[in-house]
Each structure stands twice: as C-alpha cells, then as structure tokens.
Amino acid sequence: MKFGNKTPALIAKIMLLGALNAFTVWCVPILISNKTWLFAIYFTISTLILDYVFLSKKRIATKYIVPGTILLLMFQVYPAIFTGYVAFTNYSNGHFLDKETAISVMVSNSFAPVGNTTNYMQVAEDNLNGKTTLIIKNDDGTFGAGTRDVFRPLPDSDVTLSSDGRIMKVTGFRTLSDDEVFAILDQFNDFKVPIGNSKFFSVTDINAVELVEQNLSYDATKDQVTDILTGTIYSPNNNGSMISAAGEEIEPGWTTTVGWRNFSKVINDERYRGPMLQVLAWTFIYAGLVVLSTFFLGFLLALVLNHPRMKSKKIYRTLLIVPYAMPSVLSTLVWAGMFNQDNGIINRVLGSPIPWLSDPWLAKFAVLLVQLWAGTPYMFLICTGAIQSLPSEVIEAAQVDGASPRQLFSKIKLPLVLMTLAPLLIASYAYNFSNFGAIYLLTGGGPTIISSGGIAGHTDILISYTYKMAFAAGKGNDYGLASAVSFFNFLLVASMSIYSFKKSRTIENMT
C-alpha cells in the first residue's frame, strides 16, 4: 500500500462516510420500528447515493450538488409538501387519530361499567389448548372459565379454594402465579370475556375483572356505528366523525381529507375572514413601517458617521452594532420586561401604569419601537457600505456644478443608494413580513381582537396568527386551518422574493 499526499483527505472521506453509514444503520431500524417508512427509505437511498457519488472518482459536479439537494428535500421540500397536504385535511383537535384507531377508541370507550363492583379472578392456562383463561367468581359465588371468545360455567367441584377464598386449583387448568401473570401482562390491556347480552367481564387488575356493557358496535361492511341500546345509527360524515341522523357526534373523530374547506373557511367564514383581513392589513403595514423607519434612521446615522468632520466614528459605529450583535430573542424578551405595565422599568420611570402591551395602539407602537431598535443597525451597516461605495467622481462633479448639500443628498446620494439597496429593502420587507419572534415574544400577538373568538390579536402578523391557530387557540389546535393560512403567507412571501430577484436583475443589467 502506497500513501500519496492525498491520503489525509482520503482518510477524512472514509471517516465522514463511515460516520454517515453508521448513523444510517443505527437510525433506520429505529425508524422502521416506529413505522416511519418514508424516512427509513429516504435515509437509506440518500446514504447509498452519497456513498456512490463520493466513492467514485468522477462526478465532481454531482459531489457539490447532491448533499445540498438531499438536505433541501428533507428540510424544505418535504415540510412544504406536508404543510400543503395538512391544509387539505381536518387535522385538528378531536381529529388526530386514523379512522381505524378512532373507531376502536369509540367502541372501547362505550364499555360502561354495570354497577360499580369488581369480581375476583384468577388467570389460568387451559390444559387442552394452552389458551389463557380467566377463572372468574360470579356474584352468586359460582365460578366460570372465560376466554376472549366464550364464558362457560364451572362445576363448584372443579375449583379448589384456599382458606382465605383464593383459587388454588382448577380441574383442567393450570393456575398461573402472579409472576407468570406479570410476564404476559400486556395481554390484559384489553381482555374482555363475553357473557352474552353485550355484557363482558373486563380485566382491571391481575386478579380482578369488572362487569361492563358494550354500548356501541361497529359494522365494518356498512361502515356504521350502532348504539346497541337505542338502535341509533351513526354514519361517517365528510369531516371524519361518526354522526347520527339527529346530528349527534361521537368523539373522537379521525383525520381525513376535506378538500378546499380550510381555504374556503379563511375566505368565507366571517369568524376567520374578519380577523384574517385585519391581521393581513397589519402585517403589510407593520413590515412596511419597520423597513421605512429602520432605513430612515439607519441611513441618517450612516450619513452622520460618514461625515469627514465627525469624531470618534469607530466608537459610535461599534456601539451601533450592539443591538445587531445581541440575539434578537434575548433583546425582545428584555423589551417585553421593560414594557411590563406593573413592574416594567419604562412605567417606573414615567411613574404611571401605561398599558404598553395591552392597549391595541400602544402595543403596535411598542412592537414598532422594538423593531426600530433591533433593525436600525442592519440598515446602518448596509447604508454605510452603500454610501462609501458611491462613485466620488459623480459627487465631485455635482459639487463642481454647484449643487447644494441638500441637492447633493436628494438628487445624487439618495437615488444612488436606493438603487443599490432596493433588493435588500425588499428582502428586509419579506423578512419582517414573517418575523415571528419579534411579535410573539413581545406581545404574543396581543391584545386580543375580541371578535376573533380569542385567536387573533391586534399586533399579530400572519405568521404568529398561524402559529396561535395551530398550537394555542380556539377549541384547541387546528393544524389544518393553520396550514391553509400559512399557504397564503407562503404565496405572499414567495411573490415578494420573485419581485426582489427581478429587481436585482434589472439593476445588474443597468450596471
């Protein structure tokens, strides 16, 4: 074996690929045991592709593209498709289970206790067929042997009791010790012995059963649930619920596709449309005001700090970067504390309990103020860059032509800076359009718009409204509806990005 100067790279490659393969081999069986087939297959195929591509000597270009593509598919494309799918389902509170599970839960919930007593029981094994059998003591003191299929009485002479009434021996059966029962305990999670008339002995403890009565039964061929006592028939409706002719619904429901209903809800249902329009309007205004205010202040500061007569520029510039360098999550939370009505530093200084975060207009003002603080350094940075790269000939030429400083600013500097920064400003607009943390951490979207039933708030932007809809509102979580709203959000942000790209292309063409 000969080691060339490429050996360290080769070793690194082997180690990285080895780690990747080890990871895949480790996690695929786990994924399979969790029945997440899609990811198991995806991980396997991705690993094979990566091995193939990186072990081959050719395919240089592929080596650059493949890893990124694999991650892109998994972290961007898959969630987007999944969100799109959820938008067409009723995945929400009360509809989290699949149909089969939901129906089994319905039926199992319908086993109601008869009276409130438990009967003594001993687990045994049938000597003939080895089946697990329960030796159950009836209310009248006689005994019976029950399996999941049948319950038959035992003659008293077959059962030998201990002095304290425990079953010791049963003819034809082998009684199991507690330890033996514990070894097969998972069998008894749902062990019911039918005794006729839709009544059952249901295991509740290692030596106790409870008399229960089944109230609902499911007919798979007709896809109907029947109330055994009243005869009421429940059929599936188009929203994943079993519903009677009288409109009575059985909980839980199941997840099912509902077509365009979530979208039509957002557009047609006044409970959602009203708040949604209000939130949408505020989102546009908010993002616009943030970009304008931060750009204005940032540009102003950049001009001032570029002025030749300005002293200690470095210190000022460093100080200005501080809000930018601080994690925005942290600073937003600090601001939220400062705005606190009762204990916040702002109200303490002002000496009056101003409801900063609970008055609709003040909360909007507070949100804008915090973003002004957090966003200005970025604008300052890019404006400084833009101003410094302004062609000095143009400015000198203007000065020679006798332009006043004001004219110089409004006719030369501002247009030139705006032209370079336009794509960045659009990008910044799109960013603020979906800046979830800025809103959610400061006001939580509040104060609530009362007519929205408690979901939308006066400072909510589209993305925080979506989040609240999905995780924290109304009758619980409505992921389906939230996905539909996030689809609208996606459309808006995507069109902004496209516009931004086009804009930057025109600028490229100009220069």
Partner: protein
Amino acid sequence: MNKKRLGILGVITAVAVAVSTLVVPSATAAGKTLVIWSDENRAKTLREAGASWAAKNGVTLTVVIKDFGKVKDELITAAPKGLGPDLLVGPHDWVGQLAASGVLDRMVNIDKSAYAASGIQGFSYKGLLYGLPYNVENIALIVNTKLSPTIPATFADVEKTWATLKAAGTAKVGIEVPYGDSYHNMPLFSGLGGYVFGVGAGGINAKDLGIYSKTFASNASKLDGYYSSGLISKSSNYDFVQWYAGKAPYMITGPWNLANIKKSGISYAIASVPAVGGTLSRPFVGVNGFMMSKFAANKIVARQFLTQVAASDDFQLALYKLGDRLPALKTAAAKVTNNPDVAAFGAYGAIGTPMPNIPQMNSVWDSWGNAWKNVADGKQTAAAAFAQAATNIKKAIS
C-alpha cells in the same frame, strides 16, 4: 489495494460497528415498566413516593419530566404511535381536549365517594371519569382582621365595612381582586347569578352559556355600583398592593399567596366570599390528578400504581407538602389538621364549581376577561359588556 477498495472497506467497517451497537436497546424492553409524564415540580415527589412500591413489585418506574405547556400536544401526537406514557400528571381542565381526541382511558376501580366531589366532577367528561384527583385548589376571601374585625357573613357587611373605612379614610379599596381576571372575579360573578356553562345530567352543556344569564342581567348594575363606589378598583392587580399596605380590608386570592400573607405580618382570616346576589358566590376549583393514556403499554401496572400509590393518604400528603393544596382524598384531607389556612380554603372550595374542562372553555377566557376590563375601565356598563362577551363566545364556539 487501490483507494476505491480502501474506501469501501472503511464504509463496511463502520457499518459493522454500527450493527454491533444495535442489539443493545431492544433487549431491555421486556418486563414491567411504568412511564409517567410529569412537570418538574412534582417529578421528585413522584419518584420518591413510587420508589418503594416499584421495588416491591419489580416495576421499572420512569418519571419523565415534560414541559408543562407542551404535555397535551405531545400526548396527542405521541400516544397513538405508542410513544406516549402510561400515566400523566396534570390539571383537570386538560381532560376535555384529551378525551375528545381519544387519547385518555377512563378510570376503573376508583371509589368516587372517597374523593372531594369537585375533584371527581372536575375529571369527569361526558359521564366518564378520566382522572384520579390528588389535590384541589381555589381562591377565597382574605380578610384583614384589623380593618374588618368580624368576618363578613353577608355581602351587605362587606359593603358596610368598606363604606365606614372609606369615610374614615383608612382604606383605599374594599376588595382587591385582580383587574380583568375572570378567574379571580368568579366569586363575584357567580354571586350575581352568572355562570360559564350549565351542568346537566350528561355533564357540561356547552350550549347553555351563562355569561349573560337572566339572573346576572338583572344584577349587573350592582357590579357597576361596586366599581363606582370603589369597593373594587381597576388599579388592583396580582400584587394586591393595597391589601399588603393595610389599605384594603379584603382581597381575593389563593393558597399560592399564603407565604406572602404570612410574611406581611398582617393579621388575617381566610373566609368565604359572601353571597352577592341571591345565589352563592362560588369560586372555581382547580383539580390536579393522574390521567391514563388510552394507548398505555401497561394498563394493569398503571392501575396498580393509581390504586396502591396515588390513592393513598401518604402519597397525597406528600404532594400536599409541595404546595399547601388540600388533598383530594378525603381521608388524607382529614389528616391536614395543623394547617387551618388550608382547611379554610378547602371549606370555601367545597361550594366551588370545577373550572369547565370542555375544549370550548378556550374560547371563553379572552372575551370574558375583556368584559371585566371594560367594566372596570368604565368603557361599558356591566350589562352591555357581558352581553357582548356572551355573543362573541357563542359565535366562537358555534
């Protein structure tokens, strides 16, 4: 050996190593296990109380600490996949959402009469019991016995004491009750004839909304009067500044403030809020307890833990020590004799109503709280504010 072969060899070796580590986790799955999801505060007590039981019965008890705010969502998504716990610890108002989503199993072998009625009622949903309660908590009237030497028996007494103190200039507000907070205002609200949802034979009836009930409508103007006379004030908040400063004869709060009350040095008594209108002033009762997952891997062991550990006096008393909340188990509550404060809270809680546990309650809080704020701010009369809240809530839950 060329480089390509060397590479393949490396990959194969790595695969082999990974395969050999695979065998380990699957081997430990068998045996009796019990997984409980709990918040951080109770986890330690659960582990300690469960340890001897687990050792005696050969059970591997695992208490998993979960973020309190996320337990519900996690259970709903994890349990049906078999990744959930056997039991979870939480407040009773989770029951509606969880049971409606089909992830809870009902309790069996529970002697309901052994527990505080509000505890059982709180954990019942659509006629089935979904939880084993271990404590109950509620707010009560905290009396500054220097300003109000006699415990008010009627609401007229409360008003009279306030009028006297106000005239003398010794108090700034009558009853301190946090601004805009429906939970703390509930005794006043129910005393004036209001309620949230009616309770019928089948449990809570979401169609019977009592935010603007007939009785409350006829009494609503009294509430306006209380604000205008200064008996209650919009400047009160969770700090209860005036009460602690000795400038308010009464406040409405819960056992979580007991330590602060004692520290303040003010002589106090814990009493019931007297009936305001014709109906009793009922507080909300919060219940904490254990719930069982519908998809629990080991229901028998879980039930044994509930009946043998959770339903024991010792365990309920151990949890009682965590936070001065009265045990839900009557025999355990009877043993709390050395703490008259907790007993006094419990006495008032006996007439309380459990906070509604149905999912529709989520749509109530904001509109309802806003009505309180508007009345306190004088933006709306009580009649108008609560009528509007009722309309909004009905629209939201329809």
